[in-house]
Amino acid sequence: MNKLIINIILGLLVSTSLMAQVPAPGSAQSEPIAIMNATAHIGNGEVIENAIVTFENGKIRNVVDARKVRMDLSGYKQISASGMHVYPGLILPMTNLGLVEYNAVRASRDYSEVGKIKPHVRAAIAFNTDSELIPTMKFTGIQLAQVCGQGGLVSGTSSVMQLDAWNWEDALYVEDDGVQVNWPALTLRARWWMGENERRVNKNYDEDVAAIKKLLEDTKSYKESNPAEKNLVLEAMVPVLEGKKRLFVNANRPKQIIDAIQTLKPYSVKLVITGAEDAWYVKDLLKENDIPVLLSNVHRLPNRPEEPVDMPYSLPAMLANEGIMVGLTHSDGMIASSRNLPFFAGTVAGYGVGKEEALKMVTSNTAKILGIDNMTGTLESGKDANIVISEGDLLDMRGNIIQYSFIQGREVSFDALQQRLYEKFKTKYESQGLGN
């Protein structure tokens, strides 16, 4: 063989490894594992400074204080994690993750179906386990995502997915867990490009609210009359009335939140208010009705110039301190930035609650809000082994250096596109003697 051919073959080898797919999912847990001597952040507010966390067959077995409990760990693979921190895997709710790759490229967008009322449209089946975005989420500690479509009044049915899977079926954590509703806006955005600087009244508001009401009324009627002819739209809504699917209603302005709660109350649905940017102004209504909120984005600007500069940072703590169940999402920005979920919690911790309380907002609170708290959200015996081990404080950029990540006991690989590109060019520059 001549040199050229060798070079081509070598080139191909390099490029195939670089062009390769997202890393393969980990294989099923084959032996019991014990994480030794890390600071365990349970996710329910508790911390064990020097803990032993064990898991077996994908389930957490023991979470104990190493200073108080002695364990026989023969047969266990031990991970020495002294000085490190162990957390339950983070949960990213209300996301398009896996439904979009490059937002500006139409062909890569799969999150918005045609129509106003489409609860029958299911996010799970479009979930792309090979999205390059997914490894970047896992790289900061996110392990589960509630994946949903958007657009229209009733956007579709979401599912909770675990982020280490071969295909969407494998990825299903809870299938069809909820229906997403966009409460109509009372006012519409100013068309700034036309020089408008004031919001416009939404003339269709009453009509749209009526359409949501009618959907629930018709579902009730459909469920009770059980007609011979199937209606896929109403079929998808029946579990909502049965309390088997939660209703995630996106409402940001105070009057929207009031209208949403007052309109939906008679149907006894399991209601979650998402977005909830102005929740503070209607906190009593949320409290009285025991309605949890999934806040849209901690790293956003205040809604009004008058609001305290740190209002979005403080809001989660303000609501939590009122006794309202708060989870954090990243539902209104660039999807790539959702990987900063732990840092949203970090910001929250700087503004009115402790770090463990902030951690709850991306772990156990979210699990409760999604109805998966029996499976995950804390480091507690019997729950899935969704575990993250970080060199330092997971909520801080400086400490969020993930050493291990286990999803249902399977070890997650971090050798993804971004890391490969980093290594590729780092090696190049090192070979040039740069950076020393």
Binding site: N103, P308, Q418, Y422
Partner: protein, 1000 residues
């Protein structure tokens, strides 16, 4: 009701053919026994005014009435010079509609004829050529006492000339006081469908270039070509130049700034909010035209809706009526205009309101008469009632500043227009009303001229009569209970009795009488009303005029910050337990155990002090971001679009930002000249700019400039590929180089030769590109993929300059070695990616890899929210690539300072540098870090303490204003619904197209 009694031709039209017999009348009038304001400050009691042939013949207390004059006895009445409207649209066609959205973009002018290149320059337009008098709006204006209007068509950036016209019913030729009375400018391109300009800085740039082009045309261009637009532009230079600075007070400052560049003092039409920048407005020396429209109170009854009313809007509601008073106190010359009033009927009540708020009456009259006339250089014709001037006046029933007074007549060019009877009869009183054998009590009440009548059936029942009186004839119509049809009566008035006949409900005829039996009881409440008329208590003007604006400016103090962890970013990078002395806005000392007499000591134990954060890529504090039209718009300047009232300045101070590089967007390969500001919250745009900084410019590459995501209509503009982008640059720089050579050649000529040789036309676009070639202006280039990054460096190499900074530069890591070799810096995002195709290979290790290769690397925001966490964004390089903490912090301080060529002034904590400092509660790279104090030039613009006080003050001020608005509503004031103001937050990819916001 308005009818005209003297609609006759006063002056014959000498040159015109008359179809029939000429009918010109004497037009000689004597208005007697009135209180006459000869001008805004001269009042003559019991005086006579003689009008002849439409002009004032004589005025005074002892004027003899000439023989044959029609005498109008105005005993008890007041005569004022008619109002002069300096900014009207009377008699002119509506301006064309602005371009709609969507459709194929239009880059060239489609206007036929030998006009200029841009449809927004309509300098050749002459309002006098299309004026149509006798339009409906005349009577509306005459009713409020207007006699003459300076009328123009509000369309275009140059709107041509106005016509100054009397509101008489004379033929156009006679009514016109001055054709080409003034030339008109604005920042809005109006109905032009051409793409350029579509931003504020584009409008300004077009005005600038038009001045230069017109100069060139005058000197040499006209020898080789005909350009009617430039010709007209030159021909109208001697006229008053009126600039419509609609928007807010900052536009007034901008208009004046543009005028100053060309030695032109514009008369500037303001917005009624000039009090918000009074000192700066005064400093312009401009004469203003000020609208008299005041916002209605907001209906704040619903507290949740009221959340959407901004503090600024609330305060403006309270302070708008005081605007004229404040301008007057400050000695600013201004006229009033009715032009922004939705309901012209509000005009006088608003004038009176301004007077109630402290504007002297004479100043009000001056602004209505003398000043507008003077602005139009017509003070010898209108605005006063001196002999020889046009007989434009109005007659009021009393002192015009008295709420009860009404305008009863307006005379224009000696023609009288009446609004009702001059002295309507007063029928008020109690009457005995007899009809068809029944007797009722009747009451007539109300102001003479508009009186109403009621039948008193019994104590609790009254029936309103449809009661009309005209020329002592009466008609009455009413229905009685239990009757299907109305009673209809006609009658006639004879002193105190009225009689007549009419038809009853059943159709039968009957006689009726009403005999006056006495007067109505008079209610006395005058005293109280006078009490209310005193000037109201007003809140403070705040700077800027938005929430968290201050009423007391932050001052430079001598500050000693003690015992902090000082991140000097010099030497070892940081010093534990160190002190920093700030004096005169500079860092005066850094070290341990410092002391200073008189310094205010700040205990910073356990805290961290860092240099202020510098955001190399920001779009806050801007009115517009993209001049998204032509491929090269290098002539545009972002500093023309700086909005110093942006709340994001304050928000970013709270995140430790002290300096922001305000960039044009990325809609075109060569965008606009950047503006560099320090976050001196409360200063005006000029006060924000960093003086003496090296000039910079924004370039852009990739999907945005090739319009990849702009929709299917936008596939026309060159370039549509990365290949084309290179050629745009090659072309631009080649032409710029040639321009430079031509300039150099011309400048090298002897004086004699120069006088014989035409100077090259000054071209602001090529001049800017030439500055880049000459290393006098430095590029910040939006870029993503490695091919284009490499390309621009090669273009720069060909013209022997260096690309200063690549911004975004998400694939910078792939060519970092080349960048380092070329000398380009990289200002990037910490972890943005995947939002479009060209960022598919973006990695959060970019900053680390670029740094590693020796590229001066910064982390920037391009996002109003992210900027206030820029320290934390940078900290992501600890996670991604394990960068050293000192190096990380430098990426948001020293490195951007280097990229801006200001590292000798800011960016580290070093003696002699600007005291732009941030005191953090925690490690500055921690997610838990918060700024407790941010100072710029040694002034504390933000601190936790100040912020808490501001929150309290804001809440109190809102509560006060809410109560005041509720009181106003309860008092019967008009209100408006709260509507949420929405600020568009620009990022560099905002493109104005089809309503699509191309975020990310």
């Amino acid at each position: 009701m308005c009818w005209m009694l003297a609609a006759v031709v006063v002056h014959a039209q000498e040159t015109f053919h008359v179809n029939g017999v000429p009918d010109s009348r004497p037009g000689l009038y004597a208005l007697t026994n009135a209180t006459i304001y000869q001008d805004y400050q001269t009042v003559i009691p019991d005086a006579t005014l003689i009008i002849e042939d439409g002009k004032v013949k004589a005025i005074g207390a002892s004027v003899t009435v000439p023989k044959g004059a029609t005498v109008v006895d105005l005993d008890g009445k007041y005569i004022y010079p008619a109002v002069v409207e300096p900014f009207g649209d009377y008699g002119l066609p509506e301006p064309g509609k602005p371009a709609g959205w969507g459709g194929k973009p239009q880059y060239e002018s489609k206007k036929e004829g030998a006009f200029g290149w841009n449809e927004a320059i309509r300098s050749e337009f002459r309002a006098a050529e299309v004026l149509e008098t006798k339009s409906k709006s005349a009577s509306e204006l005459r009713k409020i006492g207007v006699g003459a209007v300076n009328s123009f068509v509000a369309d275009g950036i140059h709107r041509g000339t106005s016509v100054f016209v009397n509101l008489s019913d004379e033929p156009v030729q006679n009514a016109v006081l001055k054709s080409d009375a003034s030339a008109h400018f604005s920042f809005s391109k109006g109905s032009s469908k051409q793409q350029y300009p579509n931003s504020l800085m584009g409008s300004v740039a077009l005005i600038r270039q038009t001045y230069y082009d017109a100069q060139w045309y005058k000197e040499q261009g006209k020898k080789v070509q005909t350009n009617l637009s430039l010709e007209a532009f030159n021909n109208t230079q001697s006229l008053p130049q009126i600039f419509d600075a609609s928007g807010n007070k900052l536009r007034v400052l901008l208009a004046d700034k543009v005028g100053d560049e060309f030695g032109v003092q514009y008369i500037i039409k303001g917005n009624g909010d000039e009090y918000q920048r009074l000192n700066e407005i005064k400093a312009t020396s401009a004469s203003l035209i000020v609208p008299l429209s005041f916002p209605d109170a907001y209906d704040v009854a619903d507290p949740l809706s009221a959340l959407d009313v901004s503090l600024a809007d609330m305060k403006h509601w309270e302070l708008a009526p005081a605007n004229a008073m404040m301008l007057s106190d400050k000695g600013v010359e201004f006229s009033f205009t009715t032009s922004d009033l939705k309901n012209k009927g509000d005009f006088w009540s608003n004038v009176r309101k301004a007077v109630t708020y402290g504007l002297p009456q004479s100043a009000a009259l001056k602004a209505l008469t003398y000043t507008p006339a003077k602005q139009l250089k017509a003070q010898d014709k209108v605005g006063a009632l001196n002999p020889g001037m046009v007989a434009n006046l109005f007659v009021a029933s009393g002192d015009i500043f008295d709420d009860q007074s009404k305008i009863q007549q307006t005379w224009v060019q000696g023609q009288k227009f009446e609004f009702g009877d001059l002295n309507p009869a007063d029928y008020a009183g109690k009457y005995e009303f007899k009809l068809d054998g029944n007797t009722y009590a009747m009451e007539i009440s109300g102001e003479p001229g508009s009186q109403k009548a009621e039948l008193i059936i019994n104590d609790s029942t009254k029936t309103n009569l449809n009661f009309k009186v005209k020329n002592n004839e009466v008609t009455i119509k009413f229905g009685l209970e239990g009757q299907d049809a109305d009673v209809r009566l006609a009658g006639w008035i004879d002193s105190e009795s009225i009689s007549g006949n009419g038809q009853l409900a059943d159709g039968s005829w009957a006689n009726w009488t009403a005999i006056k039996t006495g007067d109505l009881e008079v209610e006395e409440k005058k005293e109280e009303e006078k009490e209310e008329a005193k000037a109201p208590e007003l809140g403070d003007v705040i700077y800027p005029f938005i929430a968290y604006g201050w009423s007391e400016a932050p001052k430079q103090e001598t500050l000693l910050i003690q015992n902090a962890t000082v991140w000097t970013l010099e030497g070892d990078g940081k010093i534990e337990g160190a002190d920093v002395l700030v004096k005169g806005g500079k860092i005066a000392a850094v070290g341990k155990g410092l002391s200073a007499d008189g310094a205010k000591v700040i205990d910073a134990k356990g805290k961290h002090l860092t240099p202020g954060i510098i955001d190399e890529h920001s779009h806050i504090a801007l009115f517009s971001v993209n001049e998204g039209s032509n491929a090269i718009t290098a002539e545009c300047r972002m500093q023309d679009a700086v909005d110093s009232d942006d709340i994001n300045i304050y928000r970013q101070l709270s995140g430790g930002v002290t300096m922001s590089h305000l960039l044009h967007g990325s809609a075109n390969p060569a965008g606009a000249q950047s503006a560099l500001i320090k976050l001196r919250w409360g200063e005006d745009p000029k006060g924000l700019l960093v003086a003496g900084a090296d000039p910079t410019i924004k370039f852009a590459l990739g999907e945005n400039v090739k319009q990849s995501n702009w929709g299917d209509d936008n596939t026309i503009r060159f370039p549509q590929t990365r290949m084309g982008v290179e050629q745009v640059y090659m072309d631009g720089f080649t032409r710029a180089k040639e321009y430079g050579e031509a300039l150099a050649k011309y400048n090298g000529l002897s004086r004699k030769m120069k006088s014989k040789t035409p100077a090259p036309r000054r071209d602001l676009q090529l001049e800017t590109l030439l500055e880049i070639i000459n290393k006098e202006r430095f590029i910040t280039c939006h870029s993503y993929v490695q091919s284009e990054i490499n390309m621009l460096m090669k273009v720069a190499d060909k013209f022997d300059f260096t690309v200063n900074t690549f911004t975004h530069i998400l694939e910078g890591y792939k060519v970092a070695d080349k960048m380092a070799e070329h000398g380009a810096g990289g200002s990037t995002f910490a972890d943005w990616w995947a939002y479009k195709f060209e960022v598919k290979d973006a990695i959060p290790y970019n900053a680390k890899l670029m740094s590693m290769a020796g590229v001066t690397t910064a982390i920037n925001s391009d996002d109003a929210e992210m900027a206030r966490r820029l320290n934390q964004e940078a900290a992501k390089s600890a996670k991604y690539g394990g960068m050293d903490e000192i190096e990380i912090l430098k990426m948001v301080t020293l490195n951007p300072a280097k990229l801006l060529h200001l590292d000798d002034q800011v960016g580290t904590i070093k003696v002699g540098k600007d005291a732009d400092l941030v005191l953090w509660n925690d490690h500055p790279l921690s997610i838990y870090a918060k700024s407790e104090m941010t100072m710029v030039d040694g002034k504390i613009y933000y601190s936790t303490e100040k912020d808490m006080a501001a929150r309290k003050a804001l809440s109190d001020e809102r509560a006060r204003l809410v109560n005041k608005m509720l009181d106003a509503k309860n008092g019967g004031a008009r209100t408006q619904k709260p509507r949420k103001k929405e600020q568009h937050l620009f990022d560099c990819e905002d493109v104005i197209y089809e309503g699509a916001t191309l975020n990310d």
